[in-house]
Amino acid sequence: MLEDSGFEHVTIGPAVDTFADATGEANARSFEVYGYAFLAQRTATNQSA
Protein backbone atom coordinates (compact mmCIF):
# COMPACT_ATOMS: atom_id res chain seq x y z
CA MET A 1 0.00 0.00 0.00
CA LEU A 2 2.88 2.40 0.74
CA GLU A 3 4.31 1.98 -2.72
CA ASP A 4 0.85 2.35 -4.27
CA SER A 5 0.58 5.65 -2.40
CA GLY A 6 3.75 7.16 -3.84
CA PHE A 7 6.41 6.03 -1.39
CA GLU A 8 9.64 4.22 -2.15
CA HIS A 9 12.68 2.74 -0.41
CA VAL A 10 10.42 1.09 2.17
CA THR A 11 12.20 -0.46 5.16
CA ILE A 12 10.45 -2.46 7.88
CA GLY A 13 12.02 -2.99 11.28
CA PRO A 14 11.88 -6.15 13.40
CA ALA A 15 8.64 -7.28 15.03
CA VAL A 16 8.00 -5.98 18.54
CA ASP A 17 5.79 -7.93 20.93
CA THR A 18 3.74 -4.85 21.75
CA PHE A 19 0.94 -6.59 23.63
CA ALA A 20 2.99 -9.06 25.68
CA ASP A 21 1.69 -9.17 29.27
CA ALA A 22 -1.10 -6.71 28.45
CA THR A 23 -4.77 -7.67 28.72
CA GLY A 24 -4.97 -7.56 24.93
CA GLU A 25 -2.30 -10.23 24.58
CA ALA A 26 -4.71 -13.11 23.89
CA ASN A 27 -6.38 -11.31 20.99
CA ALA A 28 -3.00 -10.27 19.64
CA ARG A 29 -1.73 -13.84 19.78
CA SER A 30 -4.82 -15.09 17.94
CA PHE A 31 -3.87 -13.13 14.85
CA GLU A 32 -0.11 -12.87 15.38
CA VAL A 33 -0.28 -9.13 15.88
CA TYR A 34 3.04 -7.36 16.40
CA GLY A 35 4.29 -3.81 16.18
CA TYR A 36 6.68 -2.72 13.45
CA ALA A 37 8.61 0.42 12.57
CA PHE A 38 8.36 1.55 8.95
CA LEU A 39 10.59 3.93 7.04
CA ALA A 40 9.77 5.19 3.54
CA GLN A 41 10.56 8.09 1.29
CA ARG A 42 8.05 10.17 -0.63
CA THR A 43 8.75 10.05 -4.32
CA ALA A 44 10.02 13.24 -5.90
CA THR A 45 7.04 13.48 -8.21
CA ASN A 46 3.96 15.44 -7.24
CA GLN A 47 1.30 12.82 -7.74
CA SER A 48 0.65 9.66 -5.75
CA ALA A 49 -0.49 6.58 -7.65
Binding site: L2, S5, V16, Q41
Partner: protein, 201 residues
Protein backbone atom coordinates in the same frame (compact mmCIF):
# COMPACT_ATOMS: atom_id res chain seq x y z
CA UNK B 1 -6.73 -1.44 -5.69
CA UNK B 2 -10.21 -1.76 -4.16
CA UNK B 3 -10.89 0.78 -1.45
CA UNK B 4 -14.17 -0.55 -0.01
CA UNK B 5 -14.53 0.61 3.59
CA UNK B 6 -15.57 -2.26 5.83
CA UNK B 7 -16.74 -0.25 8.83
CA UNK B 8 -18.83 2.80 9.62
CA UNK B 9 -16.21 5.58 9.61
CA UNK B 10 -18.09 7.88 11.99
CA UNK B 11 -18.83 5.09 14.45
CA UNK B 12 -15.20 4.01 14.42
CA UNK B 13 -13.98 7.58 15.01
CA UNK B 14 -16.40 7.99 17.90
CA UNK B 15 -15.13 4.82 19.55
CA UNK B 16 -11.50 5.78 19.00
CA UNK B 17 -12.14 9.20 20.54
CA UNK B 18 -13.81 7.58 23.57
CA UNK B 19 -10.98 5.09 24.02
CA UNK B 20 -8.24 7.70 23.81
CA UNK B 21 -10.15 10.21 25.92
CA UNK B 22 -9.92 7.55 28.64
CA UNK B 23 -6.18 7.16 28.02
CA UNK B 24 -5.73 10.95 28.36
CA UNK B 25 -7.74 11.19 31.57
CA UNK B 26 -6.85 7.85 33.17
CA UNK B 27 -3.57 6.68 31.62
CA UNK B 28 -3.07 3.95 34.20
CA UNK B 29 -6.62 2.65 33.87
CA UNK B 30 -7.68 -0.77 32.59
CA UNK B 31 -6.56 -0.55 28.97
CA UNK B 32 -5.87 -3.59 26.77
CA UNK B 33 -2.45 -2.18 25.87
CA UNK B 34 0.50 -0.89 27.82
CA UNK B 35 1.04 2.82 28.43
CA UNK B 36 3.61 5.25 29.75
CA UNK B 37 7.25 4.86 30.68
CA UNK B 38 7.20 1.08 30.88
CA UNK B 39 5.89 0.92 27.33
CA UNK B 40 8.46 3.43 26.08
CA UNK B 41 11.20 1.36 27.67
CA UNK B 42 9.77 -1.85 26.19
CA UNK B 43 9.75 -0.28 22.72
CA UNK B 44 13.36 0.83 22.94
CA UNK B 45 12.98 4.58 23.22
CA UNK B 46 16.08 6.55 24.16
CA UNK B 47 15.99 6.70 27.96
CA UNK B 48 18.23 9.75 27.94
CA UNK B 49 15.39 11.67 26.29
CA UNK B 50 12.39 9.99 27.94
CA UNK B 51 13.80 10.38 31.46
CA UNK B 52 13.98 14.14 30.98
CA UNK B 53 10.28 14.39 30.12
CA UNK B 54 7.74 14.99 32.91
CA UNK B 55 5.21 12.28 33.70
CA UNK B 56 2.37 14.17 32.02
CA UNK B 57 4.31 14.00 28.71
CA UNK B 58 4.79 10.25 28.94
CA UNK B 59 1.96 8.69 30.98
CA UNK B 60 -0.63 8.65 28.16
CA UNK B 61 1.77 7.28 25.56
CA UNK B 62 0.09 4.28 23.95
CA UNK B 63 2.17 3.58 20.85
CA UNK B 64 2.82 0.18 19.33
CA UNK B 65 6.42 0.60 18.21
CA UNK B 66 9.23 3.12 17.97
CA UNK B 67 9.09 5.35 14.88
CA UNK B 68 12.57 6.67 15.69
CA UNK B 69 14.21 3.24 15.75
CA UNK B 70 15.13 3.16 12.07
CA UNK B 71 16.23 6.77 11.72
CA UNK B 72 16.79 9.76 13.96
CA UNK B 73 15.20 12.99 12.73
CA UNK B 74 17.69 15.66 11.68
CA UNK B 75 18.13 18.93 13.52
CA UNK B 76 16.09 21.73 11.98
CA UNK B 77 13.55 19.43 10.30
CA UNK B 78 9.84 20.20 10.04
CA UNK B 79 7.79 17.30 11.38
CA UNK B 80 4.11 16.32 11.35
CA UNK B 81 2.92 13.78 13.95
CA UNK B 82 -0.25 12.06 12.72
CA UNK B 83 -2.44 11.20 15.70
CA UNK B 84 -0.21 12.87 18.25
CA UNK B 85 -2.26 11.93 21.30
CA UNK B 86 -0.87 13.46 24.47
CA UNK B 87 2.24 14.48 22.53
CA UNK B 88 4.89 11.96 23.58
CA UNK B 89 6.30 11.29 20.10
CA UNK B 90 5.98 14.97 19.19
CA UNK B 91 8.12 15.86 22.20
CA UNK B 92 10.70 13.22 21.24
CA UNK B 93 10.75 14.66 17.71
CA UNK B 94 11.04 18.17 19.14
CA UNK B 95 14.13 17.08 21.01
CA UNK B 96 15.63 15.68 17.82
CA UNK B 97 14.94 18.73 15.64
CA UNK B 98 15.85 21.31 18.30
CA UNK B 99 14.66 24.90 18.42
CA UNK B 100 15.45 25.51 14.74
CA UNK B 101 13.00 22.78 13.72
CA UNK B 102 9.26 22.62 14.09
CA UNK B 103 6.74 19.94 15.05
CA UNK B 104 3.00 19.96 14.36
CA UNK B 105 0.95 17.28 16.11
CA UNK B 106 -2.49 16.45 14.70
CA UNK B 107 -5.17 14.76 16.79
CA UNK B 108 -8.96 14.46 16.82
CA UNK B 109 -9.48 13.83 20.56
CA UNK B 110 -10.11 17.04 22.54
CA UNK B 111 -8.78 15.67 25.82
CA UNK B 112 -5.52 14.64 24.16
CA UNK B 113 -5.16 18.06 22.53
CA UNK B 114 -5.69 19.83 25.84
CA UNK B 115 -3.10 17.63 27.52
CA UNK B 116 -0.49 17.94 24.78
CA UNK B 117 -0.89 21.73 24.54
CA UNK B 118 -0.60 22.14 28.31
CA UNK B 119 2.51 19.94 28.37
CA UNK B 120 4.16 21.86 25.51
CA UNK B 121 3.58 25.08 27.43
CA UNK B 122 4.94 23.48 30.61
CA UNK B 123 8.05 22.36 28.75
CA UNK B 124 8.50 25.73 27.05
CA UNK B 125 8.58 24.02 23.66
CA UNK B 126 7.75 26.96 21.42
CA UNK B 127 8.60 24.96 18.31
CA UNK B 128 5.81 22.41 18.94
CA UNK B 129 2.12 23.00 18.32
CA UNK B 130 -0.93 20.78 18.31
CA UNK B 131 -3.79 21.16 15.87
CA UNK B 132 -7.20 19.50 15.81
CA UNK B 133 -7.73 17.41 12.70
CA UNK B 134 -8.15 14.03 11.10
CA UNK B 135 -5.43 11.85 9.64
CA UNK B 136 -7.35 11.94 6.36
CA UNK B 137 -7.60 15.76 6.30
CA UNK B 138 -4.74 17.39 8.16
CA UNK B 139 -4.61 21.17 8.67
CA UNK B 140 -1.11 21.38 7.19
CA UNK B 141 0.03 23.03 3.94
CA UNK B 142 1.05 20.99 0.92
CA UNK B 143 4.67 19.75 1.01
CA UNK B 144 5.31 21.51 4.36
CA UNK B 145 6.92 18.59 6.18
CA UNK B 146 10.38 17.10 5.88
CA UNK B 147 9.27 14.17 8.02
CA UNK B 148 5.94 12.62 8.97
CA UNK B 149 5.74 10.37 12.01
CA UNK B 150 2.88 8.34 13.47
CA UNK B 151 2.51 5.59 16.05
CA UNK B 152 -0.35 3.12 16.31
CA UNK B 153 -2.79 5.40 14.54
CA UNK B 154 -3.13 4.31 10.93
CA UNK B 155 -4.47 0.89 11.95
CA UNK B 156 -7.36 2.74 13.61
CA UNK B 157 -8.30 4.56 10.40
CA UNK B 158 -10.89 2.94 8.15
CA UNK B 159 -9.51 4.38 4.91
CA UNK B 160 -5.77 3.76 5.02
CA UNK B 161 -5.31 4.77 1.39
CA UNK B 162 -6.77 8.17 2.20
CA UNK B 163 -4.37 8.54 5.13
CA UNK B 164 -1.32 7.70 3.03
CA UNK B 165 -2.52 10.07 0.29
CA UNK B 166 -2.80 12.83 2.89
CA UNK B 167 0.66 12.07 4.26
CA UNK B 168 1.97 12.22 0.69
CA UNK B 169 0.34 15.64 0.29
CA UNK B 170 1.91 17.21 3.39
CA UNK B 171 5.38 15.74 2.80
CA UNK B 172 7.81 17.57 0.55
CA UNK B 173 9.10 15.56 -2.45
CA UNK B 174 11.81 13.25 -1.11
CA UNK B 175 10.55 13.68 2.47
CA UNK B 176 10.52 10.84 4.95
CA UNK B 177 7.67 8.87 6.46
CA UNK B 178 8.71 7.03 9.60
CA UNK B 179 5.96 5.42 11.60
CA UNK B 180 5.11 2.47 13.80
CA UNK B 181 1.99 0.38 13.58
CA UNK B 182 0.66 -3.10 14.09
CA UNK B 183 0.32 -5.81 11.47
CA UNK B 184 -1.25 -9.24 11.76
CA UNK B 185 0.42 -12.43 10.60
CA UNK B 186 -2.84 -14.34 10.34
CA UNK B 187 -5.86 -13.16 8.34
CA UNK B 188 -8.67 -11.61 10.37
CA UNK B 189 -12.13 -12.95 9.41
CA UNK B 190 -14.22 -10.44 7.49
CA UNK B 191 -16.95 -10.48 10.14
CA UNK B 192 -14.36 -9.47 12.74
CA UNK B 193 -13.06 -6.68 10.50
CA UNK B 194 -16.62 -5.33 10.22
CA UNK B 195 -17.02 -5.30 14.02
CA UNK B 196 -16.04 -1.79 15.15
CA UNK B 197 -15.81 -2.93 18.77
CA UNK B 198 -12.86 -5.16 17.89
CA UNK B 199 -10.93 -2.26 16.31
CA UNK B 200 -10.52 -0.49 19.64
CA UNK B 201 -10.76 -3.37 22.13
Amino acid sequence: MSNELLVDVDKLRTQVREKYRDVAIDPHGPHHFHTGRLLANRLGYDNAIVDDLPDRAVESFAGVGNPFSLQRIEEGAKVVDVGSGAGFDSFIAATHVGPTGRVIGIDMTPEMLTKSRDTAAHLGFDHVEFREGLAEAMPVDDAWADVVISNGVINLCADKQAVFAEIFRVLRPGGTLQFADIANGRPVPIEAVRDVDLWTG
